[in-house]
């Protein structure tokens, strides 16, 4: 007796809908076991992770703040992945966007520069992110170099570049030698939506990005091309779609969105440029993209869910001394389950009995 995979005649739409929920359920079961191994009360830990952050206004705002970069980056990545282009360097594009936007903030610091500063920062950050993402895209299209490896290598380069700037030329002279720029001026800061709260304009921008992506994918020829090139490359070639052009386009868009997310994070919740501005948003966004089924609305929900795990992880650490790394383990396991459940959309399990099958085949 053997358990084997068998291709379904057509994709199962039921499973496509429930698979993220099954994945989350399985992850929670696994986490319960992990908490028990760590010697923590699993019920209390799950409460700290998933319920407690939803019960007070501050945490709810914080979830939206954390979800903002995740959703923006994941929307861009989903376009790449739909077109079968593997941008996994969003973390680097995020950092370069943050650096480029901060350049304006640093240079206008203490001057009487007006309201143009923040819009200029956003535009420059998006442009820089797009250009940085174009490096692996062009290496792929022109020379055939694996975009997976090149985009990832550039994450380390961006990280070191940011490190150099805040330890060298951009370091705050009054910052007690900490590697950080001075706090940005008010004109270089993303405005808050509620006075004294945490929610900022970036969350609105993220919602606009979700809407734009939904229109692009659902209502335009370009969106159709992206989906066809990824799903059926041969058909796309016969259809005259230019796959290389789409690689360039999707990389540029995802780089721009990651760069924009980077400057919004720096000019918003953080308020200055420093190393460690991202707790791995660029990588977590990969999980968000897949959990959201590469669908804009799905990504919005998935982004909020993963933001919940970041906030829940912090609260669980404070309340129950659960290490922060548990959150990363949680996210990794979740991605595994999501991918595994997705496999059931196209395949189903079947029990086979090898010996009997042979006789039937002969007869």
């Amino acid at each position: 007796m053997q358990l084997v995979l068998e291709k379904r005649a057509e994709r199962s739409n039921t499973i496509a809908l429930v698979s993220p929920l099954i994945a989350i359920g399985l992850t929670i079961v696994t986490m319960t076991i992990l908490f028990a191994i760590l010697g923590k009360n699993p019920l209390l830990a799950l409460h700290a992770y998933f319920i407690a952050p939803l019960t007070d206004g501050y945490s709810l705002q914080e979830i939206a703040v954390k979800a903002t970069p995740l959703v923006m980056i994941a929307i861009g990545l989903s376009l790449c992945y739909l077109a079968n282009a593997w941008n996994i360097g969003a973390e680097g594009q995020f950092l370069i966007g943050a650096v480029a936007g901060s350049w304006i903030a640093v240079k206008t610091q203490g001057t009487d520069a007006g309201a143009w500063v923040l819009p200029a920062m956003l535009v420059l950050a998006a442009a820089a992110g797009a250009l940085y993402a174009l490096i692996p895209a062009i290496c792929k299209v022109k020379f055939g170099a694996s975009e997976i490896l090149t985009s990832l290598m550039l994450v380390y380069v961006a990280d070191l570049f940011l490190d150099y700037l805040v330890r060298g030329p951009w370091r705050d002279p009054h910052g007690f030698n900490f590697p950080t720029t001075a706090e940005f001026d008010p004109v270089a800061t993303v405005p808050l939506l509620i006075e004294g709260g945490r929610l900022h304009l970036g969350s609105i921008i993220a919602l606009l990005v979700v809407a734009a992506a939904a229109i692009l994918l659902g209502r335009t020829i370009k969106g159709f091309e992206i989906r066809v090139v990824g799903a059926a490359p041969r058909a796309a070639r016969f259809g005259g779609f230019n796959a290389n052009q789409l690689i360039i386009l999707t990389f540029a868009v995802s780089g721009a969105l990651a760069g924009l997310a980077g400057i919004i994070e720096v000019a918003g919740p953080v308020g200055h440029l420093q190393p460690g501005i991202s707790p791995g948003y660029g990588f977590t966004a990969i999980i968000v993209a897949f959990l959201g089924r590469l669908n804009p609305l799905g990504i919005l929900i998935a982004g909020l869910f993963l933001a919940l795990t970041f906030i829940g992880g912090e609260q669980a650490q404070i309340a129950m001394k659960i290490p922060l790394d548990v959150t990363k383990v949680f996210q990794g396991i979740l991605l595994f389950y999501v991918l595994a459940c997705d496999s059931l959309i196209l395949y189903r399990f079947k029990l086979v009995f090898p010996s009997r099958q042979v006789t039937r085949g002969a007869g």
């Binding site: 084997v4 995979l5 068998e6 291709k7 593997w86 996994i88 490096i135 290496c139 022109k142 020379f143 055939g144 170099a145 694996s146 997976i148 490896l149 090149t150 990832l152 290598m153 550039l154 380390y156 380069v157 070191l160 570049f161 490190d163 150099y164 330890r167 060298g168 990588f283 990969i286 999980i287 897949f290 290490p323 922060l324 790394d325 548990v326 959150t327 990363k328 383990v329 949680f330 996210q331 990794g332 396991i333 991605l335 595994f336 991918l339 595994a340 997705d342 496999s343 196209l346 395949y347 086979v352 099958q357």
Partner: protein, 305 residues
Amino acid sequence: MELVEAIILAVLAASTPLLIAATGELVTERSGVLNLGVEGMMIVGAACGFAGAWLTGSILVGALLGIVAGTLMSLVFALMALGLAVNQVATGLALTILGIGLSGLIGAGFVGERITPAVHLHIPGLTDIPMIGRVLFGEDGFVYFSVALIVGVWWFLYRTRAGLILRACGDNHVSAHALGYPVLRIRTFTVMFGGACAGLAGAYLPLAYTPFFIPGMTAGRGWIALALVVFSSWRPGRLVVGAYLFGAVTILQLHAQGWGVGIPSQFMSALPYLATVIVLVLLSRARTGGSTAPAALGTVFVPDR
């Protein structure tokens, strides 16, 4: 002369983890499986390896634990990518994300601890030969093992029947299956071999390279190992050259920082990563005549019945 010898020793030490991890991945890829989770398997190997050595005081136990940890991680990958026919790129990324989290969890209690690093060989007379003595006869066990490993892999892939079958699976899994070879079982073994090598390569870092564990200490070496496999055109001989070249770049930039060359240290530290990008571009460009990659690399295989 002392300096030259010191540099060669340092290059060998820096190259060894790359060589071991890349050797494992080369075998995995030769059978047609692209496991992007090398970085994740390495970092878990590093954490488990250090934990084992610290708890038992034995480098060998640490190394073995690193191998076991890497293999277990690779089994998760095999279950997903081979058993459930999930996209290999996405599964590999998931493995790396999971590995970084797990290693932090496992290693948290060991940060700040130190161990006695792996002993170096010493043969009186031979090791004391000027210039070449320490390079040839004064290394730690990992270095010799890595050389034996790549020679063994070369012999296996090109001089044995099993190696031929393995390569056949990587080039055309449908034909290999039609000839009656158990493609998925062979691939499971190669994925496990890749995991064992990555785990050992990771364990090398805290056991021999630096005698302590810090989170994220693999610093992208797993990804560089993946790039090295591309660099080698999937051939063991070129893999050795590539690994030592990359080790040399790493060490030279460290020395350049030490000599106080007027370039900020961060730019020098970025060199190995930039070099990887440049090498990938140059090599891919030189290969316009057709790909040297195993033809079935990274594609899903579900046997017909």
